[in-house]
Symmetry: C2
């Protein structure tokens, strides 16, 4: 198959003309470039939000950790999360794939199955791309374009002392899922523990907090926002440095997943390690005016969405600290500085 | 250096805030996503034009054929050409690079030198990107976003029988330049012939027909347009198939570069092979209403731009034919069908 035939095989008939039109697509896959306009039902002025994210075989995934469908799904989900972290609505995607000889037409078709499953889940119109060959490793770079009401995009740099720090979901599950996948690779006869399915799913099929980002942009009280792609500590550091504040997280307030706790205990790992330094959770971490925290939590709950206040911000040199859980009642509060280090997929 | 430090080293201070503001940039490099809006001086309704193009080390370039600066320049230029092929104005770029161990900080800095040289040449604001490691080969995927007056984007599919076929510059030079670069690699002591510099430059630093595309979009008589990335024959085939017409090209009308003719003669290659099946010329090929061809040529000439009518379109099964140059006066016109094959960088 030539390039056109391949692209057709992977993309043709996947999304309806109607769906694409609703997202403002004037011209989709098949010409030198795609053409889009603001969606017809939008009346207020919009700005466009754009991000690109890349996944490289052996760096971000391997056959043992992710199926082709998972790779396609997650490559788009990581970008959708970047749009969510600005408070935007994801609308369009362009897909660059560099295809090694080990990926035949069927494997690529499955990769696109996963990509389109994610696109349908978040209403993203796939409008174009580029396909090249690669000597050895699959590389997929996805660009996502979204919209946000003019002036409403949420940055990392707006946190103020006295803000409440929040996350929009539990953290550490993806890293624990990867830990299990690698353990199983080393011991193929290992029985999967009951909590493994939830952790593996978190690693392979992350669920970006798109609706949460939009709720936060609309409230007007959210002062900084980031998505957790490189671990909670690293993302908190980014907010601290961009905003010039200290973030004080409280161990006792961090949402603790039962699956994560069970697996960490079994694996003999401190779950806090995964919660702080694991990555690819794709929930949101941010700060908002402290006096709006309760109302925000209620507004999230009304839509069935989690919202956890996990600490507060202080004036001072940029940094991130953790108030560790006390073992004894009445013990003095103890703070430890959190390292800036991020996430490294395969521990290299 | 961590990822942020690296990106800062490559991108910081390259473009002024004023330049970025003129292009509608609300938020550039450094957050989860970039934010843009239509440029302030635009009053008519705009649509957005988006394309992605990827270059892979060993597939599209090698150390022997391109410097780091050339790779950066050309990676952006190829995308600028896609925007030109829609009649759009290129405005913003997002850059995904997957960096192998062989590319240290200095080589990457030089790659960005070239990328920004191209960005400055075409007024493109670099607004974001993603950097990952690569086990072995450099992969660079650039997404460019441009604007076009609403409804004016030029597609491949609008050609009608009786249109004039045109190109906006000579073709085949890039392929000849690559031929010389590979010949020199095999014979490092070979003296460069005098025409080599122009051919090598065409290969390394293509000059997309951005202004030409805009002139064509504004005229209202241009019915189809494509950029020549995969060779004139292949791009003409795309227009033929998308529009449902036959394109009849005339050998005698094809612009023939003196450098190309001299080098082809020296190399013992039929220059027509490079002109029809060489690639990466990044000029535009298209069709327009035949009765506007002379006026279009004059309008191009008034801006110092070349415009060559090279044939015409006919009703019939989609295809591309070449009317070969006759050796004898009064000889009957002879047509040969042109194969659909495209361009393959290293003849593999």
């Amino acid at each position: 198959m030539d390039e056109f035939a391949r692209i057709r095989h992977w993309t043709h008939g996947r999304q309806s003309a109607d769906m694409q039109r609703r997202q403002g697509v004037v011209l989709g896959i098949g010409d030198d470039a795609a053409v889009v306009e603001p969606p017809a039902d939008e009346t207020e002025p919009l700005q466009w939000v754009l991000a690109v994210d890349t996944m490289v075989e052996t760096v971000h995934f391997a056959d043992a950790t992710m199926s082709e469908e998972d790779v396609g799904y997650k490559a788009l989900a990581a970008n959708v999360s970047d749009i969510a972290a600005m408070g935007g609505v994801p609308r369009h995607a362009l897909v660059s794939v560099s295809v090694p000889p080990s990926y035949g037409a069927d494997r690529m078709r499955r990769l696109y199955d996963g990509l389109y499953a994610c696109a349908d889940r978040y209403g993203v119109a796939v409008i174009g791309g580029d396909t090249t060959s690669s000597p050895q490793h699959l590389v997929i770079a996805v660009t996502v374009i979204g919209t946000v009401a003019a002036g409403r995009a949420l940055r990392r740099s707006g946190a103020q002392p006295g803000d409440a720090v929040f996350v929009t979901g539990p953290v550490g599950l993806s890293a624990a899922g990867l830990h299990w996948l690698l353990a199983r690779q080393n011991d193929p006869l290992a029985q999967p523990p009951p909590e493994a399915a939830a952790l593996v799913r978190a690693h392979r099929r992350p669920a970006p907090s798109v609706r949460a980002g939009q709720l936060l942009a609309a409230r007007g009280t959210c002062r900084s926002l980031n998505d957790v792609s490189d671990g909670l500590a690293s993302e908190a550091w980014e907010i601290a440095e961009a905003s010039g504040v200290r973030l004080v997280l409280r161990e006792a307030l961090l949402p603790r997943s039962g699956s994560l706790a069970a697996y960490a205990s079994r694996a003999g790992v401190d779950p806090l390690e995964w919660m702080l330094y694991g990555g690819e959770d794709y929930v949101l971490v941010g700060t908002l005016a402290a006096d709006d925290a309760e109302a925000a939590k209620a507004a999230f709950a009304a839509e069935g969405l989690p919202f956890y206040v996990i600490g507060e911000t202080e004036a001072g040199d940029p940094g991130v600290e953790l108030v560790v859980r006390s073992e004894r009642r009445g013990a003095e509060e103890r703070r430890v500085p959190l390292a800036k280090r991020g996430y490294n997929h395969f521990g290299g």
